[in-house]
């Protein structure tokens, strides 16, 4: 089992959505998803909530990989604010790639960003910005 597979087992919601972890290294995480009917809204395109959920996860994975397991256990990070630009529609059958990156990691706060791109042509479909708080379990 790779480190990535271990991490994915602890993100039940990402499993529910059906995304796969493709890469995880310090400050970087990449998920992939083949969009299905179950991911769509009444317009027949991918629901924006799928994009925001996976961008959030990709950012959190990038941050977790940078902080390391011990730091993550000691003071888990949690999203406190997000902002997403939904730039283009995604249809069932298309594969999307979600990349998360850490912009800045400080003692009690971290800033990350994520992008969703269509795998076939690399077009930017969504962009998100995430603020995480690092909360110490002790005290």
């Amino acid at each position: 089992m790779t480190e990535g597979e271990g991490l994915m087992r602890r993100v039940p919601f990402v499993e529910l959505v059906g995304a796969e972890l493709e890469e995880m290294r310090e400050g970087y995480g990449r998920l992939a998803l083949i969009v299905e009917e179950k991911h769509t809204n009444p317009n027949g395109v991918m629901h924006g909530g799928v994009a925001t959920a996976l961008m959030d996860s990709a950012a959190a994975i990038a941050l977790g990989a940078l902080r390391g397991e011990a730091a993550r256990q000691d003071s888990p990070h949690a999203t406190v604010e997000m902002n997403a630009s939904l730039i283009a529609a995604v249809r069932p059958g298309e594969k999307i790639v979600i990349e998360g990156r850490v912009l800045s990691l400080r003692r009690s706060v971290a800033f990350c960003e994520s992008e969703v791109r269509r795998d076939s042509d690399g077009d930017l479909l969504a962009k998100g910005r995430f603020t995480f708080v690092l909360r110490s379990r002790s005290g």
Partner: protein, 126 residues
């Protein structure tokens, strides 16, 4: 932008860079650059970069204006520091455009602020 005193260093299709040497008039009571200076310049730079893609003629027919902005303040800068504001286009559509900007101190890789802005493109009436 004249009030703030920033200058345009580079302006080409899809990329705009502004520069500003910070003075005490740009600071807040803590002595660091006021966030409003950074948001104003990011807005200005992204508005400019979207103009560089759309062209002045199209802008005359349908001006674009900011409808949403979201900024993360990652670091700080003080009077005497020179900051650079770089803006890029994410997407220009028919009625909406997305851009983003990063602020750094000259000569440093560290991003001190990052913003994502949304612009509405509105046809003039008549």
């Amino acid at each position: 932008m004249q009030l703030i005193g920033a200058r345009e260093e580079e302006w080409r299709e899809g990329y705009v860079r502004l520069a500003l040497t910070l003075e005490s008039k740009h600071t807040n009571p803590h002595g660091v650059v006021h966030g409003g200076v950074l948001t104003t310049l990011m807005d200005e730079a992204i508005g400019g970069v979207i103009a560089s893609v759309r062209g002045l003629e199209e802008m005359g027919i349908a001006p674009h204006s900011t409808v949403a902005m979201n900024v993360s303040f990652l670091g700080s800068a003080r009077a005497g520091d020179e900051i650079l504001i770089e803006a890029r286009v994410l997407k220009v559509g028919r009625s909406i455009a997305f851009g983003e900007a990063e602020v750094r101190k000259r000569g440093s890789d560290a991003v001190i602020a990052k913003g994502g802005l949304t612009f509405s493109i509105r046809q003039r009436r008549g």
